[in-house]
Amino acid sequence: MAALIASLKTTFTGYFKYRGREGQLSFLLHRLTGLGTLLFLIIHIVDTATVYYFPSLYNHAIEIYRSTPFMIGEIFLVFSVIFHGVNGLRISILDLYYPAKWTIKIQRTAVRHTLLLSVLLWLVPAYIMLRNMLVHNFGMFGG
């Protein structure tokens, strides 16, 4: 048990202590956005399934999704989905078609472009979702 805990600790601190610059950052962001999206996905599958199993519970679930903390969380969920997608596509294309391009020099630039593209793709949906939240939850813009 002590050995197991020690190995868990080594792996976890290694995630942050290892100084791999851009590659490390994209590795951590990919895992964080992936696990975050998966957590949401499990909840989302189960709560949506209530429309068949326990229909009276579904509107309660939707009420929670409409609350301000969840709507803010959803804006970050959308960033996670966009970043995980752009970065995942970068990994897939390189692994499947251009493995020789996995060099530190090329990938440092690629990571920066991936982050930039993800933020740019996020801006418009984030604006629309934030506006939706202000309209419905705070009565702004004539809501």
Partner: protein, 127 residues
């Protein structure tokens, strides 16, 4: 100038197949997930979604097939990703096998619950 690329003998075992399918599914998931999130979260928005909305959606065989594909690809991709992360933390064969089986069972149970609900559809008459 040193080069980092090298040729290795590619194994053909379960892990290699899972590794390849993470890449194949990622390509399928870009349109599947992005369009789903864009439509439901951004264009429609959670304030317009209720059980009647789901009823109408899941009365359409095309949308049911779309959502089944989404469930199959996204959730399998996510749970295998979780498995890959746990492999970083557990190093003994026994712990890895146990973790893999637990994740597999959770994947199977939640997938069946979700797929059955999509096929059976919403029951707004019971609210």
């Amino acid at each position: 100038m040193t080069t980092t690329s090298r040729t290795v003998e590619k194994p053909s075992n379960y892990e290699a197949t899972a590794w390849r399918w993470m890449r194949y599914s990622s390509v399928a998931l870009i349109p599947l997930v992005w369009f789903h999130v864009l439509l439901q979260d951004v264009i429609v928005g959670v304030h317009k979604i209720d059980i009647d909305y789901v009823f109408v959606r899941w009365s359409n065989i095309g949308i049911q097939i779309y959502d089944i594909l989404l469930l199959a690809f996204a959730f399998a991709h996510g749970m295998n990703g979780l498995r890959q992360v746990t492999m970083d933390f557990f190093h003994s064969d026994k712990a890895r096998r146990t973790a893999s089986w637990l994740i597999f069972i959770l994947w199977l149970v939640v997938s069946i619950i979700g797929a059955f609900a999509i096929i059976a559809g919403a029951r707004p008459e019971l609210v």
